[in-house]
């Protein structure tokens, strides 16, 4: 039997590479490995074990992330993190994490295929996102590195601010919602559908 082939949730779509008429750039991030890690942040032994396995100290401040090289750890909850790293490094890091946290009250799971990552970049990326969420993405505390879980367009999502000025946002959605989220973004990010916080809104042109 041939080796299993990894196919992204949006690979079947023809409009992934080029989307004319958008005010921002949308991109599907592929080849990203994701490990869901749970453990007690107050346990110094667990934190040390996780750090030695991943190479990055787990962030403990709410809604933050920690990056070192190509590994980024996103804070999801007071006892949950999402370790994102290149797919090639996944097997090794995952095995190390499992081994180092063995016997501890901790759990590491390979969740690489559970979520789809859509990258929104360009000025106005935050405004596009704000059309689907009640979270104020323009608040001063939403800076580079901020991770915010939210109800986005009625689905569960997490937004990671990868870069600011110009904005680069990674939107994590569940794989089964990838098509929906993609189409929602295609419709909402059209140039004519630019959001204004106050006053009359532009009427979108098709």
């Amino acid at each position: 039997m041939a080796d299993a082939k990894l196919i992204g949730a949006l690979a079947h779509r023809g409009d992934v590479e080029r989307q004319p008429g958008l005010s921002i750039t949308l991109k599907v991030v592929t080849g990203r490995g994701m490990i869901d890690l749970r453990g007690n942040a107050a346990d110094a032994k667990f934190m040390a074990a996780a750090k030695s396995a991943i190479g990055v100290a787990l962030p403990t401040a709410p809604r933050t992330s920690a990056t070192k090289g190509d590994v980024t750890v996103l804070w999801l909850s007071i006892d949950q993190w999402l370790v994102t790293l290149p797919r090639e490094k996944l097997t090794k890091t995952f095995a190390a994490l499992r081994k180092k946290t063995e016997g501890m009250f901790a759990l590491a799971t390979d969740m690489s295929d559970a979520r789809t990552v859509i990258r929104l970049s360009g000025d106005g990326a935050r405004e596009v996102l704000m059309k689907g969420t009640s979270v104020d993405m323009l608040a001063p505390d939403v800076i580079q590195g901020t991770v915010r879980r939210m109800l986005f367009a009625e689905i569960a999502a997490a937004c990671h601010v990868v870069g600011a000025e110009p904005d680069v946002l990674d939107l994590y959605v569940f794989r089964s919602y990838a098509d929906y989220a993609w189409e929602w973004l295609l419709a909402t990010a059209r140039s004519g559908a630019r959001v204004r916080l106050y006053g009359p809104q532009d009427i979108p042109t098709t």
Binding site: S77, Q80, V135
Partner: protein, 118 residues
């Protein structure tokens, strides 16, 4: 729209980012004395809920944030949250903000009559 602050992760958000879990501080009789649980106690535990006019202690979950449960004290008259506290903490004494006295049944009946209907 209710604005809620999660005491666990500190996030401030809209009602839609949270999940309401009903009345807080309900004690399960079988936890303390499983041998002697009366039908009445079990009924009250399962079905009887307060519906106060004033401060109501309730459970909420930070559904789109850290995913943890916590408690909140909400004034059902003004819809104002008086306190947010951890899921394992007892209800806070809100002293001066005690619930206003509920209208007596008699008064309610009189008011209904005045309004000219049931």
């Amino acid at each position: 729209m209710l604005l809620i602050t999660c005491p666990v992760c500190g996030v401030e958000g809209d009602e839609t980012e949270f999940h309401a879990g009903g009345e807080a501080h309900i004690k399960r009789p079988a936890t303390t004395d499983p041998e002697n649980v009366t039908d009445e106690a079990q009924r009250d535990y399962l079905y009887m809920r307060k519906n106060p006019r004033g401060i109501h202690f309730e459970r909420w979950m930070c559904a789109r944030g850290c995913g943890k449960w916590f408690h909140a004290a909400r004034d059902t008259v003004t819809m104002e949250f008086k306190a947010f506290y951890g899921a394992r903490e007892p209800a806070p004494d809100l002293g001066g903000t005690a619930s206003p006295k509920a209208a007596t049944p008699r008064k309610t009946a009189a008011r209904r009559k005045k309004a000219g209907g049931a």
